[in-house]
């Protein structure tokens, strides 16, 4: 339980990226929301980087849904990168993948 979550926004090659670091669960809400609030005004396109994420549960999925819902209202696109095969599978069965563009690697994600 030492694996605390941190959502860190940054800009790279003109893309606003939020790195999701550690465990994405119910306790991650504040950090993720704050990162989105900081990042959102900077771009119409937000890239969520799941690469440094070690674990995600159903509460974490709910947080991603919240971000997606908010971005939709604001007319922003949400992209994702760095998903393991397992979480990509979960994004497919939950149909999250129908509402965000999922990239295979960072190079194509920021292109």
């Amino acid at each position: 339980m030492t694996d605390r979550f941190n959502a860190a926004p940054r800009a790279e090659a003109g893309t606003v990226i939020i790195d999701l670091i550690g465990v994405l669960d119910g306790d991650s809400a504040a950090s993720l929301t704050e990162a989105y609030m900081v990042a959102a005004p900077e771009a119409d396109r937000i890239l969520l980087n799941f690469e440094p994420m070690t674990f995600m549960n159903s509460s974490g999925i709910a947080l991603v849904v919240e971000i997606l819902a908010r971005a939709r209202v604001e007319g922003r696109a949400v992209h994702a990168v760095g998903l393991s095969d397992h979480y990509r599978h979960i994004f497919e069965i939950t149909r999250l993948s129908d509402f965000m563009t999922i990239h295979d690697d960072m190079a194509t994600a920021v292109a």
């Binding site: 339980m1 549960n57 159903s58 709910a62 095969d85 599978h89 999250l96 129908d98």
Partner: protein, 528 residues
């Protein structure tokens, strides 16, 4: 001759005077209108008279005590020309008086006679064609009804049967041509027990198929309410009563079997008794009760029995025991008893054995009298359950990750495909979260017990909390569109994930504990 007398009784068309008209035995006119009819009774002497008359008959001079003659005269008929084909009176040509007001001459009569001789066979052919068409229509109608009945029936029979580890459950259903109302059903309940039913609706065809469909659906619905077998039958009986035609009823045997320990509990609404194959023969398991749909407010006695590995339970419909040999001898219950007692080692062997014997008994070209249904539940071998690991976790926030890592370690030797192992880990994490938050209400002092077992062809992770009496709500696929619109909470993914990531989820509870079992099949069958 029968055709003529039967149909002539119905009507003979009569025409306005001076207008000749031929009638057909079915009363339809060949041409013209303004016709009324004359009924001729089959015992009217005019029929016998016309049958043997040498030619056209003048009604005016006919001395015969016949109501038909009187009626024909009143209708203005002067001359009746009998139409005879192959020695049978098949119709008459009825003529009014001549327009010249003179009587019919000898030449007229000769002409009419030869006309009748040619018209009669043609009329007979027309009659036969009509009869055949009517028969064909009737046959087609019956055939269509049979097809509808068969479709209904087939739609409501299970396409696959659950196969708990160590068990072999098999069924055979063969409809009679006329389609009786047999049915059977086998369902795995959420707690891992097997509910089964076999039944027979009185009557045949579409009505029986409709009642069969309704009964099957009611049984399934009652079965979901966690009732005992007697409770299921009592509820279905009350629902059926008043809804089905008074002359119809349904016999049905309903049971619940725990494949893990062989515990069987069943109740019977007037259906044939099941046979249990034992080490030293076969026993008829006896339970009685009123058929469904006859009277409301019935209660059904429940019978309990514990099967041991190696035993087989055989259920059947009366289409089996009441099948007849060519010499009208009946197959009978004792014969079926002996077959079960003699046993069969092969998988699916018992059904094959009964059917082969039935075919031998009834002989070649047997027109099956009633639907035949057989259902067998065989406990082939004790499902060797071995506990791979067992541990208790405290109800702490975030403990699910520790439990998940521990389970991953415990199943290493099971050699799961990496993707399936990942799926199991996530399902375990979700189930443990539920146990902590919902089952134990976040009370740190309450334990969550996790046990990993290999049972025959299944790897099972059982997660037990102290939330007794709780059941998992039926999971629907979350509606992500509604969540994104803000119409629904973004949460609510846990149960969906659990059910999507393992092959089966079973749950059971008593007053103080609630257990969820996450099942992965390890025999290569139907993985997710």
């Amino acid at each position: 001759m029968t055709t003529w007398t039967q149909t002539l009784r119905r009507r003979i068309t009569r025409r306005a005077a001076a207008d000749a008209a031929a009638t057909q035995p079915d009363g339809e006119q060949l041409r013209g209108a303004e016709a009324s009819t004359v009924e001729i009774e089959p015992n009217d002497p005019i029929l016998a008279f016309l049958q043997s008359a040498p030619g056209p008959v003048e009604l005016e001079t006919l001395e015969l005590d016949s109501p038909a003659v009187r009626d024909l005269r009143e209708a203005g008929v002067a001359l009746v020309v009998p139409l005879i084909s192959s020695g049978e009176l098949i119709g008459t040509l009825n003529l009014g008086p001549r327009l010249s007001e003179q009587g019919y001459s000898t030449d007229d009569r000769r002409l009419l006679d030869s006309l009748a001789a040619q018209a009669a066979p043609a009329l007979r052919v027309a009659q036969l064609v009509r009869e055949q068409e009517a028969e064909a229509r009737e046959r087609q109608k019956i055939e269509q009804e049979l097809q509808v009945a068969q479709l209904i029936q087939q739609h409501f029979l299970p396409t696959t049967l659950p196969q708990p580890p160590g068990w072999s459950i098999e069924a055979h259903y063969r409809p009679a041509r006329a389609v009786g109302g047999d049915f059977y059903d086998v369902v795995e309940r959420p707690d891992g027990r097997i509910a089964f039913a076999i039944g027979d609706v009185t009557d045949k065809g579409v009505p029986a198929a409709m009642v069969m469909a309704a009964t099957r659906s009611l049984l399934r619905s009652a079965g979901r309410e966690d009732l005992s077998p007697g409770g299921v039958l009592a509820q279905v009986n009350d629902l059926l009563h008043g809804d089905i035609p008074s002359r119809m009823f349904v016999t049905c045997l309903y049971g619940i079997l725990d494949p893990r320990n062989g515990e069987l509990r069943f109740a019977n609404a007037g259906h044939n008794l099941p046979f249990l194959q034992t080490d030293d023969g076969a026993d008829e398991l006896r339970a009685t009760g009123m058929p469904l749909g006859l009277m409301p407010g019935m209660s059904y006695i429940e019978v309990e029995h514990t099967l041991v590995a190696g035993q087989l339970l055989l259920l059947h419909s009366d289409g089996v025991t009441e099948a007849h040999a060519p010499d009208r001898e009946m197959f009978g219950t004792p014969r079926l008893h002996d077959l079960v007692a003699a046993g069969s080692d092969k998988r699916g062997g018992m059904l094959g054995k009964v059917l082969t014997e039935l075919e031998r008994f009834t002989g070649m070209g047997w027109e099956q009298e009633d639907d035949i249904t057989l259902l067998s539940l065989r406990w082939e071998r004790e499902a060797a359950a071995s506990t791979l690991a067992e541990r208790t976790f405290p109800s702490l926030r975030g403990i699910e990750r520790e439990a998940m890592a521990w389970v991953a370690e415990a199943v290493v030797a099971s050699d799961l495909e990496p993707a399936r192992a990942e799926n199991l880990k996530t399902a375990v994490a979700e189930a443990v979260m539920n146990a902590v938050e919902h089952g134990n209400g976040g009370d740190e002092a309450l334990p969550v017990e996790v046990r990993v077992e290999q049972r025959a062809d299944e790897l099972v992770v059982a997660i037990t909390d102290r939330g007794g009496g709780r059941t998992i709500p039926i999971t629907e696929t979350p509606d992500i569109e509604a969540k994104l619109r803000g119409d629904q909470t973004p949460r609510g993914w846990g149960l969906f994930l659990i059910q999507s990531l393992v092959d089966a989820v079973r749950e059971s509870s008593d007053e103080s504990r609630h257990t969820v079992e996450l099942v992965l099949r390890t025999d290569g069958g139907e993985p997710r």
